[in-house]
Structure formats: C-alpha cells, structure tokens
C-alpha cells in the first residue's frame, strides 16, 4: 500500500485549483482552518466555496479575495454574531463582490446526500412558505408519484474537492471520526477529490480494530495531511477544546477591514504553515485547550 501522506502545502497546491468548487466541511467540530489558511497563502482565486456554515475560516477566505461565490445555509459567527468579512463582501463588494447561493441546513444536507448518492436531486419537506425558493431558482418542487403531495427538491452538490478534517487516519486515508460528524461523510463521498487532514496518523491496525468508526474509506481519498491542531479555533474531540474566546474575540478583530487585514498578514500570510501557527500560539495557550480524558470504553469485535 502506497502512502498518500503529504504536507498541507502540497495537498492544497496539487488538489485545489483556481475556479474550483471547494468544500471544507465540519459542523463546528473539525473545521480545517489550516487548509483555509493554506488556500489564502497560495492565493487561490475564484473559488466556489461551499459549506453549511461559513464560519470564521470562510470569512477569512472571502476577506482574502479567494472566493467568487458562496454556497451555504447559515453564515454567522455561531453564538457571537456576524461574519464581517463576508458582510463587507456581500454588502459592499470588498475586496470583491461575492455571489451567494443560499439554502437551509436541510437543503444543504440533502444536496450533499444527493451528491454522495450520484442522484441529480433529493426531495425533502421544507422551503414552502419561505421566500428562499423565490431567490434561489435551484430550489424546485415535484409531486410524489404515490400521494400527489408536493415536495421541494435541491440539486446534487458535487464539489471538485473536499477537505475533511478528522481525528485520525491511516496513511491510505481511512479516516475515523467520533463526536459530532456533521456531513463530513456526505461531503467526502459527494466530491470528486478528497483531502483528509488528520490530527493523528495511526497504523492500519488501529483502524481495523474498530471499523465502525471509519467514516471515510481510503479508496475515495487522494491525499492525507497529518497536522495537529489544524482545526483551531474549531476543535477535535479528544484532542483539544473549542477556543470559544477566539470566536468571541473575532468580532472585534474582524469588524473593520484593517483589523481583518492585520490578522491575515500576521497569522496567515506571515506564517509558513500550521507548525509556525502552533508555535506562535505558544505551548501554554495550547495546553489550556488540551482535552481531558473521557474514555469511550472498548467493545468486542470477536466472534
């Protein structure tokens, strides 16, 4: 078995092209900030950036001018408020106009389901009575062939590349997740290429000892990046906590264009990669976020 392990710079360099439809998923949990920073650093342009919740990392990518269009269902700083980088782009066209294509969470989930299932659409009960279908012509309606009832449909979403953060993976990209799973599996199966970013590289035997935890099989994976703390200020359950203070602070940091630019210069473009980022945060800071120990217990796969 040949290893797919490479650096983040290699993975983003090789698998994210200008103009690509890109998804960095992760619902609060396992959001790969390190990948977003590398995309900014490599000055990728004209991306169609998809995600249920354009979080701080998409705010930064938009502010850095990487994004042409945003496909999403909830664009905010969770529990805090606005994403100011994104608002500047949408409301004022700074640094460039960003087109938006908007669904609800269920709509985006269904788009990824359809994409992963190689179906051109999925139907679901939502959107009626809402103004969303008026503003998004990709939302259509069909009738059930059995009951005649009306259901909304969304088109499949099949990104060019998915960057999926996980807790652990082997060198072929068999990737395991526990805690919140979001739509990591569906985003991966829906995408043409998958880059796995893992907190930890584990031997194949660790994966095989608990195959029910493998959410994404190596056979759909192009590259494996091993990068501890790659999700900060998001989190990786069992590795480090969510940096809630960072999310609260972000409102101040990003509120003005200048603050945002200063942050990007200092924390993204000014650093070579996640190793320097960890160093800059400092051992003490990281230590504070370190996970405590809550073992799952073991089950028996014997027969």
């Amino acid at each position: 078995m040949s290893s797919k392990v490479m650096t983040m710079a290699q993975a983003v360099g090789e698998f994210v092209r200008d103009g690509d439809t890109v998804v960095i998923e992760g619902f609060t949990h396992l959001i790969c900030f390190a990948a977003g920073h590398e995309i900014i650093r490599q000055k990728k342009r004209d991306l169609v950036a998809c995600r249920l919740t354009p979080d701080l990392i998409y705010d930064q990518m938009v502010a850095a001018g990487c994004v042409r269009k945003l496909v999403f269902s909830w664009a905010g700083n969770p529990g805090v408020g606005s994403l100011f980088g994104l608002r500047r782009a949408v409301e004022e066209g700074i640094p460039r106009k960003v087109e938006i294509e908007e669904y609800s969470h269920f709509g985006m989930v269904a788009r990824f389901m359809a994409g992963a299932s190689h179906l051109p659409f999925m139907h679901l009960k939502t959107f009626e009575g809402s103004d969303l279908p008026r503003k998004n012509k990709n939302i259509k309606f069909i009738r059930c062939p059995y009951t005649g009832k009306r259901y909304a449909t969304v088109p499949a979403l099949n990104p060019d590349v998915a960057i999926i953060h996980v807790q652990r993976a082997d060198e072929e990209g068999n990737a395991q997740i526990w805690g919140l799973m979001g739509v990591q599996r569906e985003a991966a199966f829906a995408s043409k290429k998958v880059v796995i970013v893992a907190e930890e590289l584990v031997p194949r035997e660790v994966v095989r000892a608990d195959p029910n935890r493998t959410l994404i099989p190596g056979l759909i994976v192009e590259a494996v990046v091993i990068e501890p703390f790659a999700a900060h200020p998001s989190y990786a359950l069992g590795y480090y906590d969510r940096d809630n203070d960072f999310y609260v602070e972000w409102a101040k940091v990003s509120k003005e264009k200048a603050g945002m630019e200063k942050y990007l210069a200092e924390w993204v473009d000014g650093l070579s990669g996640r190793a320097e980022y960890r160093e800059k945060l400092g051992a003490e800071y990281l230590k504070k976020l370190e996970a405590d120990n809550r073992p799952s217990g073991s089950v028996n796969y014997g027969f």
């Binding site: 905010g76 969470h105 805690g179």
Partner: protein, 258 residues
C-alpha cells in the same frame, strides 16, 4: 451570595418564561442563545428528562457548561446518541419526532413568520443576516414552535423583508394548504411579555405581560396595532431558585443574558 435576587433583567425573565413552557420528557430542538439557556434551566428544575436535540446531531445532551455554539463538544460528550446531520434532519426532524422547536430571528410579523435572512432588499441588502440554518424546516416540522426574541418596532414590523421560516404565513393559515406536519407557532416570548395566536385570524395576540409592563409600552414597541387579550395576565417573575441557577450555573460569564 452576591446578587440581590428580586432584581432581574428582561433576558432573564424571557429565559425563565420559556423554561416554564417545557414539559418533562418533551423532545426539544434547541437553538443557540437564549433557548439554550431556557432548556438547560428547565432540565435543572421541573424537566430533568427533557430530551435536547441539536441540529449538529447530538441527541439527549447533558451539557455541563453552557454551549456557545450548537456544535460545542459538551453536547456530544455524555449525550445519548450522536448521529450525522443526514439523520438528524431526515429521521428526527422530518421524521416527526420533535415536540418543540425554538426559534429566534431578526424580525417577526403578525402571523409568526420569521426573517433571519436580510434587512432591506435581498440583492442589495442593508444588513445581511446569517440566513435560515435549520430554522425553515424546524418551523415546518416541529409540532410546536416557540419564538424568543426582543421586541421593538424594528423587530416586529408590519411587514418583514423576507420570510425565512414560515409561521402561519397569512390570515388563512396557508400551512394547511402546504400540508405542513407541525402546527406552527404557539408562543412568542419577548422582553415585554408573551404572545399567542388567534385561532381564527392566526394573528399574534398579547396574552401575558411581565410585572411592571403596561399595554402602552407593548404597543409602542411593535409595528402594528397588536391585539391584546382582555385582560392580559401578569407573568410570575423569576424565582430566586431560577435566577440562582441561571447566574451561578448556566451563564456565570453573562454571555447570553447581558
């Protein structure tokens, strides 16, 4: 203890009122912010077996800190089940298992329709808001919807700029035409009082006011000539116990209840 219990903020009154609405064993789809606090307050008081479900896929959560986000690690750890968002939306929400959905928003109209998308024109927004998230489908599927938001003429205008999540839609309750499984909005809890909906016109109607609030205060802070129950009840103020739990345990940093 350092606080004077008799005093409380409008946010605290809102949370307490919302918490009282929750019955033990009900299944609640929880949003961020005040609803989160309300559910956790109810869980520590009269509804210890309230089942909390978050759209992040955590079911039967027992958060040991107040989650800032609906994907906080404390929601997964020690929960009853964690599933993917495919399952939480298809099997739990669309599957009809949610008794109560909590929703907030920037604007609500008289029929309980919610705007959390945009102020101004969609294509040339004055303020771009976060958007639906799961709100649109929660509004459609939850058996009962409770809204929690602060009241002003701006947040309760005559017409909202965008319907993100349908309430009763209009005066004939078009929910029925669309065959929505959920019954629609049941309560709106603001910082002035509590509204229900008229069974015939599907319009908001003031049912309760908080101690010290007058009808004219309410009317001055809403965008139309709202109907009032005669007479509206006065809401029982927060008890010392309720305030103690909120201030000591749930939001000691006062992030949610400034």
């Amino acid at each position: 203890m350092g606080f004077k219990m008799a005093e409380y903020t409008p946010s605290e009154m809102m949370v307490v009122r919302a918490a009282r609405e929750l019955k033990n064993r009900e299944v609640v789809f929880v949003g961020i912010g005040l609803p989160n606090v309300a559910c956790n307050l109810a869980r520590r008081l009269h509804a210890p077996e309230l089942v909390l479900i978050y759209e992040s896929g955590a079911v039967g959560c027992v958060p040991d800190r107040l989650p800032l986000s609906i994907g906080d690690p404390c929601l997964a750890t020690d929960s009853i089940s964690v599933c993917s968002m495919v399952e939480v939306f298809n099997y739990y929400l669309q599957g009809g298992l949610i008794d109560i959905g909590f929703l907030g928003g920037a604007q609500v109209d008289r029929f309980g329709n919610i705007n959390s998308t945009v102020i101004g024109d969609y294509d040339r927004p004055k303020v771009r808001l976060p958007g639906s998230g799961g709100a649109c489908e929660i509004a459609i599927h939850a058996k009962k919807v409770i809204m929690v938001l602060k009241q002003s003429p701006k947040s309760f205008p005559e017409r909202i700029d965008f319907i993100t999540s349908p309430g009763f839609i209009d005066q004939v309750n078009s929910r029925r035409k669309f065959g929505f499984p959920g019954k629609g909005p049941s309560l709106i809890i603001t910082d002035f009082g509590v509204y229900g909906f008229n069974k015939n016109t599907y319009e908001m109607i003031l049912r309760e006011m908080y101690p010290g609030v007058a009808v004219k205060d309410v009317k001055a802070n809403i965008g139309w000539d709202v109907k009032v129950s005669r007479p509206p009840k006065t809401t029982v103020p927060p008890t010392d116990e309720e305030l103690r739990i909120i201030r000591q345990d749930l939001d000691p940093g006062r992030i949610h209840l400034r």
